[in-house]
Symmetry: C2
Subunit: 191 residues, 2 copies
Amino acid sequence: MRESLIENIQSKIKLSTEEIEIFNTFWKERKLVKNEYIFRNGEICKFDSFVISGSFKAFYIHPDTGKEEIIFFAIENWWATDLDSFSNQSPSMYAIQAIENSIVLQINYPSFEELLRQIPKLERYFRLILQGYNSSIQRRIILTNSHSAEERYRDFVQRYPKIIQKVPQYLIASYLGITPEFLSKIRGKKN
Amino acid sequence: MRESLIENIQSKIKLSTEEIEIFNTFWKERKLVKNEYIFRNGEICKFDSFVISGSFKAFYIHPDTGKEEIIFFAIENWWATDLDSFSNQSPSMYAIQAIENSIVLQINYPSFEELLRQIPKLERYFRLILQGYNSSIQRRIILTNSHSAEERYRDFVQRYPKIIQKVPQYLIASYLGITPEFLSKIRGKKN
């Protein structure tokens, strides 16, 4: 189970056998059934969660329409964490819920800090992960404001082919800020 | 000049006198006059830039309306960098321009990596900075979709009082996605 996380880390930094052993003791596996929450809106995101299998949606409820608004998806080899809530141990503005039966590796905040104290080079790994997430969120803001729904869908398909395969269409539509009907129309067009 | 950057870093991690000496050799001061660019849309963001004095806007040009759309502001003690472009040395989707005469400290990408190699604990500082930026950008997405312009303006005033003082109102309006006239109306209301 821990191999995929170790592999993900080793793609950015190198860990010794001893460090891998220390690292492994910090993480606990958790199984979630479909629709189960890692945390709900207003709760503290107590764990940093790495997805081993399955998929999750991060979303909040729009106060006027009552609709779910998707912030991001997390599939295998990605993180399903509200880092703001996790690092400040403060209530989250959103929720993360399993789209299907899923497995994650989790670490709580005091253990996370202790892990970084014991293996400081992990700071680099987490910095690089954050940097990548940052780029994608910034890109999303620019595309949302400056590109058509169709262009944004094509960009999404190209960048996240695995998410397209795993996640229901109506959730992709929500992420793109369009109706499921409009997404069907876009998908029906010839490329 | 370098003191404010060192102070900013020391608020998150501790550096020894020797490390501070090494650190200082890596940064070059640059003065920019009002309207000068750090980099333009389509250029590579060659430097990580820390603002010593003055203010900057990060923006792109909307392809349909031709209008500037503000991504973020950078005032003193903040970073004026497109990290995606900087870390991949790839063309930026946006531009960063001085709003007034300003001074920054800069480091290029190979030097940045060398600095991190020589003082690895800086990884933690940059991770924490990114985490804070991440939180603010995520918060912005949620607020933009779920709160009125007035609520977003009040939130902005509370979180970024220094930006309100320094940055022209029409740029704040652009950041909030409203017209300058509408912003005036909001500001005219009693609290």
